[in-house]
Protein backbone atom coordinates (compact mmCIF):
# COMPACT_ATOMS: atom_id res chain seq x y z
CA UNK A 1 0.00 0.00 0.00
CA UNK A 2 1.46 3.24 -1.18
CA UNK A 3 0.19 6.36 0.59
CA UNK A 4 0.56 9.61 -1.38
CA UNK A 5 -1.42 11.93 0.82
CA UNK A 6 -2.19 11.88 4.52
CA UNK A 7 -4.71 14.08 6.27
CA UNK A 8 -3.82 14.01 9.97
CA UNK A 9 -6.34 15.02 12.58
CA UNK A 10 -7.46 18.17 10.78
CA UNK A 11 -10.04 20.55 12.28
CA UNK A 12 -11.53 23.77 11.00
CA UNK A 13 -14.04 26.05 12.70
CA UNK A 14 -15.98 28.92 11.17
CA UNK A 15 -17.19 31.11 13.99
CA UNK A 16 -18.58 28.62 16.47
CA UNK A 17 -19.41 26.04 13.83
CA UNK A 18 -17.01 23.21 13.32
CA UNK A 19 -16.89 22.49 9.59
CA UNK A 20 -14.31 19.73 9.85
CA UNK A 21 -13.49 17.92 13.06
CA UNK A 22 -10.52 15.66 13.81
CA UNK A 23 -10.47 14.29 10.29
CA UNK A 24 -7.84 11.74 9.30
CA UNK A 25 -7.72 10.17 5.87
CA UNK A 26 -5.01 8.25 4.04
CA UNK A 27 -5.08 8.44 0.26
CA UNK A 28 -3.59 5.56 -1.69
CA UNK A 29 -1.67 6.06 -4.87
CA UNK A 30 -3.48 5.58 -8.16
CA UNK A 31 -6.83 4.86 -6.51
CA UNK A 32 -10.11 6.71 -6.51
CA UNK A 33 -11.17 7.91 -3.09
CA UNK A 34 -14.68 9.32 -2.74
CA UNK A 35 -15.80 11.67 -0.02
CA UNK A 36 -19.56 11.61 0.46
CA UNK A 37 -21.97 12.94 3.02
CA UNK A 38 -25.15 14.99 3.33
CA UNK A 39 -25.19 18.67 2.36
CA UNK A 40 -23.07 20.77 4.70
CA UNK A 41 -21.04 17.80 5.89
CA UNK A 42 -17.80 19.64 5.16
CA UNK A 43 -16.70 17.89 1.98
CA UNK A 44 -15.79 20.98 0.00
CA UNK A 45 -14.14 22.44 3.12
CA UNK A 46 -11.76 19.48 3.08
CA UNK A 47 -10.80 20.39 -0.51
CA UNK A 48 -10.38 24.05 0.39
CA UNK A 49 -8.17 23.15 3.33
CA UNK A 50 -6.11 20.75 1.29
CA UNK A 51 -5.51 23.22 -1.55
CA UNK A 52 -4.57 26.09 0.73
CA UNK A 53 -7.68 28.25 0.33
CA UNK A 54 -8.32 27.84 4.06
CA UNK A 55 -5.80 27.26 6.84
CA UNK A 56 -6.65 24.43 9.23
CA UNK A 57 -7.02 25.28 12.93
CA UNK A 58 -5.39 22.00 13.85
CA UNK A 59 -3.75 19.07 12.14
CA UNK A 60 -1.40 18.48 9.22
CA UNK A 61 -1.45 17.56 5.56
CA UNK A 62 1.37 15.38 4.31
CA UNK A 63 2.15 14.86 0.66
CA UNK A 64 4.48 11.88 0.68
CA UNK A 65 7.14 13.02 3.12
CA UNK A 66 6.43 16.69 2.59
CA UNK A 67 4.39 18.66 5.11
CA UNK A 68 2.18 20.91 2.98
CA UNK A 69 0.06 22.42 5.76
CA UNK A 70 -0.35 26.12 5.16
CA UNK A 71 0.99 26.12 1.59
CA UNK A 72 -0.68 28.84 -0.50
CA UNK A 73 -2.88 27.59 -3.38
CA UNK A 74 -0.35 28.22 -6.15
CA UNK A 75 2.30 26.19 -4.30
CA UNK A 76 -0.12 23.33 -3.74
CA UNK A 77 -0.76 23.31 -7.49
CA UNK A 78 2.98 23.42 -8.11
CA UNK A 79 3.73 20.28 -6.07
CA UNK A 80 1.09 18.42 -8.05
CA UNK A 81 -2.35 18.74 -6.48
CA UNK A 82 -4.96 20.16 -8.86
CA UNK A 83 -8.65 20.71 -8.28
CA UNK A 84 -11.94 21.60 -9.90
CA UNK A 85 -14.65 23.65 -8.26
CA UNK A 86 -18.20 22.77 -7.31
CA UNK A 87 -19.50 25.99 -8.85
CA UNK A 88 -17.58 26.14 -12.10
CA UNK A 89 -14.74 28.65 -12.04
CA UNK A 90 -13.52 28.80 -15.62
CA UNK A 91 -12.29 32.08 -17.10
CA UNK A 92 -15.53 33.03 -18.87
CA UNK A 93 -14.21 35.62 -21.33
CA UNK A 94 -11.33 33.54 -22.60
CA UNK A 95 -11.52 30.88 -25.26
CA UNK A 96 -11.46 27.25 -24.21
CA UNK A 97 -7.89 26.97 -25.49
CA UNK A 98 -6.73 30.04 -23.57
CA UNK A 99 -8.22 28.60 -20.39
CA UNK A 100 -5.95 25.59 -20.74
CA UNK A 101 -2.97 27.73 -21.79
CA UNK A 102 -3.19 29.64 -18.53
CA UNK A 103 -2.83 26.36 -16.65
CA UNK A 104 0.09 25.31 -18.89
CA UNK A 105 2.04 28.32 -17.63
CA UNK A 106 2.73 26.43 -14.42
CA UNK A 107 4.86 23.87 -16.27
CA UNK A 108 5.97 25.98 -19.22
CA UNK A 109 6.72 29.40 -17.86
CA UNK A 110 7.39 31.73 -20.73
CA UNK A 111 8.58 34.61 -18.60
CA UNK A 112 7.53 38.21 -18.75
CA UNK A 113 10.61 39.79 -20.30
CA UNK A 114 10.91 37.23 -23.03
CA UNK A 115 7.23 37.89 -23.73
CA UNK A 116 7.83 41.62 -24.00
CA UNK A 117 10.62 41.20 -26.53
CA UNK A 118 8.92 38.30 -28.28
CA UNK A 119 12.10 36.29 -28.78
CA UNK A 120 12.34 33.36 -31.16
CA UNK A 121 12.56 31.01 -28.19
CA UNK A 122 9.31 32.38 -26.86
CA UNK A 123 7.40 31.88 -30.09
CA UNK A 124 8.61 28.29 -30.25
CA UNK A 125 7.71 27.61 -26.64
CA UNK A 126 4.29 29.20 -26.98
CA UNK A 127 3.43 27.14 -30.02
CA UNK A 128 4.50 23.89 -28.35
CA UNK A 129 2.48 24.91 -25.32
CA UNK A 130 -0.55 25.50 -27.54
CA UNK A 131 -0.09 22.09 -29.16
CA UNK A 132 -0.09 20.41 -25.77
CA UNK A 133 -3.16 22.35 -24.70
CA UNK A 134 -4.98 21.23 -27.87
CA UNK A 135 -4.07 17.63 -27.09
CA UNK A 136 -5.60 17.93 -23.65
CA UNK A 137 -8.77 19.40 -25.16
CA UNK A 138 -8.90 16.48 -27.60
CA UNK A 139 -8.69 14.11 -24.68
CA UNK A 140 -11.93 15.62 -23.39
CA UNK A 141 -13.58 15.77 -26.84
CA UNK A 142 -13.88 19.55 -26.84
CA UNK A 143 -11.01 20.29 -29.22
CA UNK A 144 -13.43 21.34 -31.97
CA UNK A 145 -14.69 24.11 -29.71
CA UNK A 146 -11.23 25.46 -28.86
CA UNK A 147 -12.02 29.00 -30.03
CA UNK A 148 -15.39 29.27 -28.26
CA UNK A 149 -15.54 31.72 -25.44
CA UNK A 150 -15.71 29.55 -22.34
CA UNK A 151 -18.97 31.13 -21.20
CA UNK A 152 -20.63 30.06 -24.45
CA UNK A 153 -19.87 26.37 -23.91
CA UNK A 154 -22.61 24.04 -22.68
CA UNK A 155 -22.68 23.27 -18.99
CA UNK A 156 -21.26 19.80 -19.49
CA UNK A 157 -18.49 21.15 -21.71
CA UNK A 158 -17.64 23.77 -19.09
CA UNK A 159 -17.18 21.02 -16.51
CA UNK A 160 -14.99 19.12 -18.95
CA UNK A 161 -13.00 22.27 -19.66
CA UNK A 162 -12.43 22.73 -15.96
CA UNK A 163 -11.12 19.18 -15.68
CA UNK A 164 -8.94 19.71 -18.75
CA UNK A 165 -7.54 22.85 -17.21
CA UNK A 166 -6.76 21.05 -13.94
CA UNK A 167 -5.04 18.24 -15.85
CA UNK A 168 -2.95 20.74 -17.78
CA UNK A 169 -1.06 21.53 -14.57
CA UNK A 170 0.24 17.91 -14.68
CA UNK A 171 -0.99 16.89 -11.24
CA UNK A 172 -0.23 13.71 -9.30
CA UNK A 173 -3.47 14.08 -7.36
CA UNK A 174 -6.68 15.44 -8.84
CA UNK A 175 -9.50 16.70 -6.62
CA UNK A 176 -12.87 16.65 -8.37
CA UNK A 177 -15.70 18.50 -6.67
CA UNK A 178 -19.00 17.14 -8.01
CA UNK A 179 -17.82 16.71 -11.59
CA UNK A 180 -21.15 15.37 -12.82
CA UNK A 181 -23.40 17.96 -11.17
CA UNK A 182 -25.87 19.28 -13.72
CA UNK A 183 -24.93 16.75 -16.39
CA UNK A 184 -27.46 14.51 -18.11
CA UNK A 185 -27.01 10.75 -17.86
CA UNK A 186 -25.10 10.50 -21.14
CA UNK A 187 -22.73 13.22 -20.11
CA UNK A 188 -22.12 11.76 -16.68
CA UNK A 189 -21.46 8.36 -18.19
CA UNK A 190 -18.84 9.94 -20.41
CA UNK A 191 -17.46 11.81 -17.43
CA UNK A 192 -17.03 8.54 -15.54
CA UNK A 193 -15.13 7.09 -18.50
CA UNK A 194 -12.88 10.13 -18.49
CA UNK A 195 -12.23 9.75 -14.75
CA UNK A 196 -11.23 6.12 -15.29
CA UNK A 197 -8.95 7.17 -18.11
CA UNK A 198 -7.24 9.76 -15.97
CA UNK A 199 -6.60 7.19 -13.31
CA UNK A 200 -5.55 4.30 -15.53
CA UNK A 201 -3.73 5.94 -18.41
CA UNK A 202 -2.15 8.87 -16.61
CA UNK A 203 -1.67 7.17 -13.25
CA UNK A 204 -3.23 10.03 -11.34
CA UNK A 205 -4.73 9.60 -7.89
CA UNK A 206 -8.27 10.96 -7.67
CA UNK A 207 -10.23 12.30 -4.74
CA UNK A 208 -13.88 12.68 -5.68
CA UNK A 209 -16.77 14.50 -4.09
CA UNK A 210 -19.96 13.24 -5.67
CA UNK A 211 -23.65 13.14 -4.90
CA UNK A 212 -24.63 10.54 -7.47
CA UNK A 213 -24.41 7.30 -5.46
CA UNK A 214 -24.45 5.14 -8.57
CA UNK A 215 -21.23 6.74 -9.69
CA UNK A 216 -19.67 6.69 -6.23
CA UNK A 217 -20.38 3.01 -5.66
CA UNK A 218 -19.27 2.19 -9.17
CA UNK A 219 -15.93 3.97 -9.42
CA UNK A 220 -14.56 4.28 -5.90
CA UNK A 221 -11.83 2.11 -4.44
CA UNK A 222 -12.51 3.59 -1.04
CA UNK A 223 -15.30 5.75 0.34
CA UNK A 224 -15.11 8.16 3.28
CA UNK A 225 -18.41 9.36 4.74
CA UNK A 226 -18.59 12.71 6.50
CA UNK A 227 -21.39 14.06 8.64
CA UNK A 228 -21.20 17.40 10.44
CA UNK A 229 -17.50 17.52 9.68
CA UNK A 230 -16.71 14.18 11.24
CA UNK A 231 -15.76 10.94 9.59
CA UNK A 232 -18.50 8.46 10.40
CA UNK A 233 -17.47 5.61 8.13
CA UNK A 234 -14.67 4.52 5.83
CA UNK A 235 -14.14 1.48 3.69
CA UNK A 236 -14.92 -0.08 0.34
CA UNK A 237 -18.20 0.96 -1.29
CA UNK A 238 -20.07 -2.23 -0.37
CA UNK A 239 -19.31 -2.00 3.34
CA UNK A 240 -20.10 1.68 3.56
CA UNK A 241 -23.51 1.13 2.01
CA UNK A 242 -24.48 -1.22 4.83
CA UNK A 243 -23.01 0.91 7.59
CA UNK A 244 -25.59 1.89 10.20
CA UNK A 245 -24.09 5.29 10.91
CA UNK A 246 -24.21 6.12 7.21
CA UNK A 247 -27.84 5.11 6.85
CA UNK A 248 -28.66 7.19 9.89
CA UNK A 249 -26.87 10.24 8.55
CA UNK A 250 -28.54 10.04 5.17
CA UNK A 251 -32.01 8.73 5.96
CA UNK A 252 -32.54 8.95 9.73
CA UNK A 253 -32.70 6.49 12.61
CA UNK A 254 -35.96 4.82 11.57
CA UNK A 255 -34.48 3.49 8.34
CA UNK A 256 -31.83 1.35 10.06
CA UNK A 257 -34.28 -1.40 10.90
CA UNK A 258 -35.76 -1.18 7.42
CA UNK A 259 -32.32 -1.51 5.83
CA UNK A 260 -31.49 -4.52 8.01
CA UNK A 261 -34.62 -6.29 6.84
CA UNK A 262 -33.71 -5.86 3.22
Amino acid sequence: MDIVLTIEDVSKNFGGISAVKNLSIEVEKNKILSIIGPNGAGKTTVFNLLTGFYKPDKGRFRYGELDITGFPPHKVADIGIARTFQNIKIFPWMTALDNVLVARQLRERTGLFRSMFRTAGLIKKESSSADKAMEILKHFHIADKFDFQAKNLSYGDQRKLEMARALATEPKILLLDEPTAGMNSNESEECVRVIYNIKDKLGITIILIEHDMNIVMHVSDKVVVLDHGEKIAEGNPGDVQKDKAVIKAYLGEEFIAYAENQ
Binding site: K89, F91, V102, L122, A166
Partner: protein
Protein backbone atom coordinates in the same frame (compact mmCIF):
# COMPACT_ATOMS: atom_id res chain seq x y z
CA UNK B 1 -0.48 41.80 -47.28
CA UNK B 2 -3.59 43.91 -46.82
CA UNK B 3 -2.53 44.50 -43.26
CA UNK B 4 0.92 45.64 -44.33
CA UNK B 5 -0.57 48.21 -46.70
CA UNK B 6 -2.83 49.65 -44.04
CA UNK B 7 0.08 49.78 -41.61
CA UNK B 8 2.18 51.65 -44.20
CA UNK B 9 -0.63 54.16 -44.74
CA UNK B 10 -0.96 54.64 -40.99
CA UNK B 11 2.79 55.23 -40.66
CA UNK B 12 2.76 57.82 -43.45
CA UNK B 13 -0.23 59.63 -41.92
CA UNK B 14 1.46 59.72 -38.50
CA UNK B 15 4.69 61.06 -39.99
CA UNK B 16 3.02 63.71 -42.14
CA UNK B 17 0.46 64.80 -39.55
CA UNK B 18 2.55 67.49 -37.79
CA UNK B 19 3.57 68.97 -41.15
CA UNK B 20 -0.09 69.54 -42.04
CA UNK B 21 -0.70 71.76 -39.05
CA UNK B 22 1.22 75.00 -38.97
CA UNK B 23 -0.02 76.29 -35.64
CA UNK B 24 2.10 75.54 -32.61
CA UNK B 25 -1.11 74.99 -30.66
CA UNK B 26 -2.33 72.09 -32.80
CA UNK B 27 1.09 70.52 -32.69
CA UNK B 28 1.02 70.83 -28.92
CA UNK B 29 -2.29 68.95 -28.88
CA UNK B 30 -0.77 66.17 -30.95
CA UNK B 31 2.06 65.88 -28.43
CA UNK B 32 -0.33 65.79 -25.51
CA UNK B 33 -2.24 62.98 -27.21
CA UNK B 34 0.97 60.97 -27.44
CA UNK B 35 1.81 61.53 -23.77
CA UNK B 36 -1.72 60.52 -22.82
CA UNK B 37 -1.41 57.37 -24.92
CA UNK B 38 1.56 56.37 -22.73
CA UNK B 39 -0.47 57.10 -19.60
CA UNK B 40 -3.44 55.24 -21.05
CA UNK B 41 -1.26 52.19 -21.66
CA UNK B 42 -0.05 52.42 -18.09
CA UNK B 43 -3.60 52.50 -16.68
CA UNK B 44 -4.85 49.84 -19.09
CA UNK B 45 -2.27 47.34 -17.83
CA UNK B 46 -3.27 47.65 -14.21
CA UNK B 47 -6.99 48.41 -14.58
CA UNK B 48 -7.90 46.81 -17.90
CA UNK B 49 -5.83 43.65 -17.64
CA UNK B 50 -5.39 43.08 -13.89
CA UNK B 51 -8.67 44.65 -12.83
CA UNK B 52 -7.24 46.82 -10.03
CA UNK B 53 -9.01 50.17 -10.17
CA UNK B 54 -6.33 52.81 -9.76
CA UNK B 55 -7.08 56.43 -8.95
CA UNK B 56 -3.50 57.39 -8.19
CA UNK B 57 -1.64 56.99 -11.45
CA UNK B 58 -0.90 60.72 -11.55
CA UNK B 59 1.33 60.17 -8.50
CA UNK B 60 3.65 58.00 -10.57
CA UNK B 61 3.43 60.42 -13.48
CA UNK B 62 4.51 63.10 -11.01
CA UNK B 63 7.30 60.98 -9.53
CA UNK B 64 8.70 60.52 -13.05
CA UNK B 65 8.37 64.22 -13.87
CA UNK B 66 9.99 65.40 -10.64
CA UNK B 67 12.79 62.84 -10.85
CA UNK B 68 13.67 64.04 -14.34
CA UNK B 69 13.33 67.68 -13.30
CA UNK B 70 15.55 67.36 -10.23
CA UNK B 71 18.20 65.27 -11.93
CA UNK B 72 18.44 67.47 -15.00
CA UNK B 73 18.49 70.80 -13.14
CA UNK B 74 20.57 69.81 -10.07
CA UNK B 75 22.88 67.15 -11.47
CA UNK B 76 22.86 68.36 -15.05
CA UNK B 77 22.38 64.90 -16.53
CA UNK B 78 21.14 64.74 -20.11
CA UNK B 79 17.79 63.54 -21.37
CA UNK B 80 18.24 59.77 -21.74
CA UNK B 81 19.80 59.20 -18.29
CA UNK B 82 16.95 61.26 -16.85
CA UNK B 83 14.35 59.06 -18.51
CA UNK B 84 16.17 56.00 -17.22
CA UNK B 85 16.27 57.36 -13.65
CA UNK B 86 12.57 58.23 -13.84
CA UNK B 87 11.77 54.73 -15.07
CA UNK B 88 13.73 53.18 -12.20
CA UNK B 89 12.02 55.44 -9.68
CA UNK B 90 8.60 54.63 -11.13
CA UNK B 91 9.36 50.92 -11.02
CA UNK B 92 10.58 51.07 -7.41
CA UNK B 93 7.57 53.14 -6.37
CA UNK B 94 5.30 50.58 -8.04
CA UNK B 95 6.85 47.72 -6.08
CA UNK B 96 6.90 49.59 -2.77
CA UNK B 97 3.28 50.67 -3.11
CA UNK B 98 2.00 47.52 -4.78
CA UNK B 99 3.19 45.00 -2.22
CA UNK B 100 1.01 46.31 0.65
CA UNK B 101 -1.91 47.79 -1.33
CA UNK B 102 -2.60 45.10 -3.92
CA UNK B 103 -3.83 42.81 -1.14
CA UNK B 104 -6.77 45.18 -0.96
CA UNK B 105 -9.72 44.26 -3.11
CA UNK B 106 -11.92 46.38 -5.37
CA UNK B 107 -12.86 49.80 -3.98
CA UNK B 108 -10.39 49.51 -1.08
CA UNK B 109 -7.47 49.51 -3.49
CA UNK B 110 -8.99 52.49 -5.32
CA UNK B 111 -9.28 54.44 -2.05
CA UNK B 112 -5.71 53.54 -1.07
CA UNK B 113 -4.47 54.92 -4.40
CA UNK B 114 -6.37 58.18 -3.88
CA UNK B 115 -4.63 58.50 -0.52
CA UNK B 116 -1.30 57.77 -2.15
CA UNK B 117 -1.88 60.41 -4.83
CA UNK B 118 -2.62 63.03 -2.19
CA UNK B 119 0.41 62.09 -0.11
CA UNK B 120 2.71 62.38 -3.11
CA UNK B 121 1.24 65.80 -3.97
CA UNK B 122 1.82 66.97 -0.40
CA UNK B 123 5.43 65.77 -0.60
CA UNK B 124 5.91 67.72 -3.87
CA UNK B 125 4.44 70.78 -2.19
CA UNK B 126 6.39 70.64 1.06
CA UNK B 127 9.80 69.17 0.40
CA UNK B 128 10.84 72.61 -0.69
CA UNK B 129 14.61 72.41 -1.07
CA UNK B 130 14.23 69.44 -3.37
CA UNK B 131 10.98 70.12 -5.23
CA UNK B 132 10.78 73.91 -5.03
CA UNK B 133 7.46 73.75 -3.17
CA UNK B 134 4.43 75.39 -4.74
CA UNK B 135 6.61 77.25 -7.27
CA UNK B 136 7.86 73.97 -8.68
CA UNK B 137 11.00 73.52 -10.76
CA UNK B 138 11.57 75.57 -13.87
CA UNK B 139 14.41 75.74 -16.34
CA UNK B 140 14.37 72.06 -17.21
CA UNK B 141 16.34 71.83 -20.47
CA UNK B 142 14.81 70.56 -23.72
CA UNK B 143 15.32 66.91 -24.47
CA UNK B 144 18.42 66.25 -26.50
CA UNK B 145 19.87 63.05 -27.86
CA UNK B 146 23.41 62.97 -29.30
CA UNK B 147 23.46 66.74 -29.72
CA UNK B 148 20.07 66.80 -31.43
CA UNK B 149 17.86 69.31 -29.58
CA UNK B 150 14.11 68.69 -29.40
CA UNK B 151 13.22 72.32 -28.91
CA UNK B 152 10.17 72.75 -31.14
CA UNK B 153 6.78 71.08 -30.85
CA UNK B 154 7.34 69.44 -34.21
CA UNK B 155 10.66 67.87 -33.24
CA UNK B 156 9.18 66.74 -29.94
CA UNK B 157 6.36 65.08 -31.86
CA UNK B 158 8.77 62.78 -33.65
CA UNK B 159 10.63 61.96 -30.44
CA UNK B 160 7.33 61.08 -28.75
CA UNK B 161 6.08 59.13 -31.75
CA UNK B 162 9.13 56.86 -31.70
CA UNK B 163 8.93 56.42 -27.93
CA UNK B 164 5.22 55.68 -27.90
CA UNK B 165 5.72 53.23 -30.74
CA UNK B 166 8.40 51.34 -28.79
CA UNK B 167 6.38 51.28 -25.57
CA UNK B 168 3.29 50.18 -27.49
CA UNK B 169 5.26 47.37 -29.09
CA UNK B 170 6.43 46.00 -25.72
CA UNK B 171 2.94 46.41 -24.29
CA UNK B 172 1.34 44.65 -27.23
CA UNK B 173 3.83 41.76 -27.04
CA UNK B 174 3.17 41.42 -23.36
CA UNK B 175 -0.61 41.30 -23.50
CA UNK B 176 -0.82 39.09 -26.57
CA UNK B 177 1.56 36.51 -25.08
CA UNK B 178 0.59 33.66 -22.80
CA UNK B 179 1.67 35.88 -19.92
CA UNK B 180 -1.07 38.29 -21.00
CA UNK B 181 -3.59 35.47 -20.72
CA UNK B 182 -2.37 34.86 -17.18
CA UNK B 183 -3.06 38.52 -16.42
CA UNK B 184 -6.62 38.22 -17.72
CA UNK B 185 -7.07 35.03 -15.70
CA UNK B 186 -6.07 36.87 -12.53
CA UNK B 187 -8.59 39.58 -13.36
CA UNK B 188 -11.45 37.24 -14.25
CA UNK B 189 -11.14 34.80 -11.38
CA UNK B 190 -8.36 35.15 -8.90
CA UNK B 191 -9.27 32.00 -6.97
CA UNK B 192 -9.24 29.80 -10.06
CA UNK B 193 -6.01 31.39 -11.24
CA UNK B 194 -4.27 30.58 -7.96
CA UNK B 195 -5.59 27.02 -8.16
CA UNK B 196 -3.85 26.82 -11.57
CA UNK B 197 -0.54 27.52 -9.85
CA UNK B 198 -0.39 31.22 -10.58
CA UNK B 199 1.09 33.36 -7.84
CA UNK B 200 -1.58 36.03 -8.26
CA UNK B 201 -0.03 38.48 -5.79
CA UNK B 202 3.25 38.36 -7.69
CA UNK B 203 1.60 38.88 -11.09
CA UNK B 204 -0.32 41.88 -9.78
CA UNK B 205 2.71 43.54 -8.23
CA UNK B 206 4.88 42.99 -11.31
CA UNK B 207 2.24 44.37 -13.66
CA UNK B 208 1.70 47.37 -11.37
CA UNK B 209 5.45 48.02 -11.41
CA UNK B 210 5.49 47.91 -15.22
CA UNK B 211 2.48 50.19 -15.33
CA UNK B 212 4.06 52.73 -12.95
CA UNK B 213 7.32 52.56 -14.89
CA UNK B 214 5.48 53.62 -18.04
CA UNK B 215 3.68 56.42 -16.16
CA UNK B 216 7.02 57.67 -14.81
CA UNK B 217 8.58 57.62 -18.28
CA UNK B 218 5.64 59.71 -19.52
CA UNK B 219 6.39 62.06 -16.61
CA UNK B 220 10.02 62.44 -17.67
CA UNK B 221 8.95 63.36 -21.21
CA UNK B 222 6.40 65.79 -19.83
CA UNK B 223 9.07 67.56 -17.73
CA UNK B 224 11.41 67.91 -20.68
CA UNK B 225 8.69 69.12 -23.03
CA UNK B 226 7.09 71.73 -20.78
CA UNK B 227 10.44 72.68 -19.15
CA UNK B 228 8.54 73.13 -15.92
CA UNK B 229 6.91 70.98 -13.22
CA UNK B 230 4.68 72.05 -10.34
CA UNK B 231 2.60 70.06 -7.83
CA UNK B 232 -0.74 71.18 -9.27
CA UNK B 233 -0.15 69.14 -12.45
CA UNK B 234 -0.57 65.80 -10.64
CA UNK B 235 -3.79 65.89 -8.58
CA UNK B 236 -6.24 63.02 -8.16
CA UNK B 237 -8.40 64.68 -10.81
CA UNK B 238 -5.62 63.98 -13.30
CA UNK B 239 -5.63 60.30 -12.28
CA UNK B 240 -9.35 60.28 -12.97
CA UNK B 241 -8.71 61.72 -16.42
CA UNK B 242 -6.34 58.82 -17.13
CA UNK B 243 -9.07 56.46 -16.02
CA UNK B 244 -11.63 58.17 -18.26
CA UNK B 245 -9.24 57.71 -21.18
CA UNK B 246 -9.16 54.00 -20.62
CA UNK B 247 -12.82 53.48 -19.81
CA UNK B 248 -13.83 55.51 -22.85
CA UNK B 249 -11.20 53.95 -25.10
CA UNK B 250 -11.97 50.42 -23.94
CA UNK B 251 -10.48 48.85 -20.80
CA UNK B 252 -8.81 45.54 -21.47
CA UNK B 253 -8.51 46.21 -25.20
CA UNK B 254 -5.16 46.58 -26.90
CA UNK B 255 -5.99 49.83 -28.73
CA UNK B 256 -8.13 51.25 -25.92
CA UNK B 257 -5.47 53.77 -24.78
CA UNK B 258 -5.08 55.18 -28.29
CA UNK B 259 -8.78 55.75 -28.95
CA UNK B 260 -9.27 57.13 -25.46
CA UNK B 261 -6.33 59.55 -25.55
CA UNK B 262 -7.37 60.98 -28.93
CA UNK B 263 -10.97 61.57 -27.84
CA UNK B 264 -10.26 62.88 -24.34
CA UNK B 265 -7.46 65.29 -25.31
CA UNK B 266 -9.36 66.73 -28.27
CA UNK B 267 -12.55 66.99 -26.22
CA UNK B 268 -10.71 68.72 -23.39
CA UNK B 269 -9.09 71.22 -25.73
CA UNK B 270 -12.12 72.13 -27.82
CA UNK B 271 -14.40 72.42 -24.82
CA UNK B 272 -12.22 75.31 -23.61
CA UNK B 273 -14.27 77.48 -25.97
CA UNK B 274 -17.29 77.04 -23.72
CA UNK B 275 -15.42 78.62 -20.83
CA UNK B 276 -17.32 78.09 -17.59
CA UNK B 277 -19.56 75.43 -19.12
CA UNK B 278 -16.69 73.28 -20.29
CA UNK B 279 -16.65 70.83 -17.36
CA UNK B 280 -20.42 70.55 -17.47
CA UNK B 281 -20.45 69.66 -21.15
CA UNK B 282 -17.45 67.35 -20.67
CA UNK B 283 -19.23 65.49 -17.89
CA UNK B 284 -22.48 65.09 -19.81
CA UNK B 285 -20.65 63.95 -22.96
CA UNK B 286 -18.67 61.34 -21.03
CA UNK B 287 -21.88 60.07 -19.45
CA UNK B 288 -23.65 59.80 -22.80
CA UNK B 289 -20.68 58.07 -24.40
CA UNK B 290 -20.41 55.53 -21.60
CA UNK B 291 -24.15 54.92 -21.63
CA UNK B 292 -24.01 53.92 -25.28
CA UNK B 293 -20.51 52.43 -25.31
CA UNK B 294 -20.17 50.49 -22.06
CA UNK B 295 -17.12 48.67 -23.38
CA UNK B 296 -15.56 51.79 -24.85
CA UNK B 297 -14.66 52.70 -28.38
CA UNK B 298 -12.50 49.62 -28.74
CA UNK B 299 -15.54 47.50 -27.86
CA UNK B 300 -17.48 49.02 -30.76
CA UNK B 301 -14.55 48.45 -33.09
CA UNK B 302 -14.39 44.82 -32.00
CA UNK B 303 -18.11 44.37 -32.61
CA UNK B 304 -17.77 45.91 -36.05
CA UNK B 305 -14.86 43.62 -36.77
CA UNK B 306 -16.88 40.65 -35.55
CA UNK B 307 -19.74 41.52 -37.88
CA UNK B 308 -17.27 41.78 -40.71
CA UNK B 309 -15.77 38.39 -39.94
CA UNK B 310 -19.16 36.88 -39.15
CA UNK B 311 -17.88 33.33 -39.24
CA UNK B 312 -15.13 33.89 -36.74
CA UNK B 313 -17.42 35.91 -34.54
CA UNK B 314 -16.70 34.18 -31.28
CA UNK B 315 -12.98 34.40 -31.77
CA UNK B 316 -13.10 38.11 -32.25
CA UNK B 317 -15.41 38.61 -29.31
CA UNK B 318 -13.18 36.81 -26.90
CA UNK B 319 -11.99 39.97 -25.23
CA UNK B 320 -13.94 41.49 -22.37
CA UNK B 321 -16.99 43.58 -22.13
CA UNK B 322 -19.01 42.88 -25.24
CA UNK B 323 -21.64 40.62 -23.83
CA UNK B 324 -24.47 42.77 -25.14
CA UNK B 325 -23.56 41.59 -28.64
CA UNK B 326 -25.63 38.43 -28.16
Amino acid sequence: MKKNISLAILAIVLLVLPLLFQSRYTQHILNMILIYVMLGISVNLIFGYIGALTLGQAAFFGIGAYTAAIISTKLGLSFLPCVLCSAVMGCLAGFIIGIPTLRLKGPYFAIATIGLNNIICIIFLNWEHLTGGAVGISGIPYASILGLQFDTERKVYFLLLVSVFLIFLLYRNMISSHYGKVMIAVRDNELAASAMGIDTAKVKVIVLAISTTIAAIAGAYYAHITNYVAPDAFPVMESITFLIIIVLGGAGFKYGPIYGAVVVVILNEYLQYFEQFNMLIYGVLIMILLLFLPSGIAGIVEIAKAKYYEKKKIYYLKEVGIDEMK
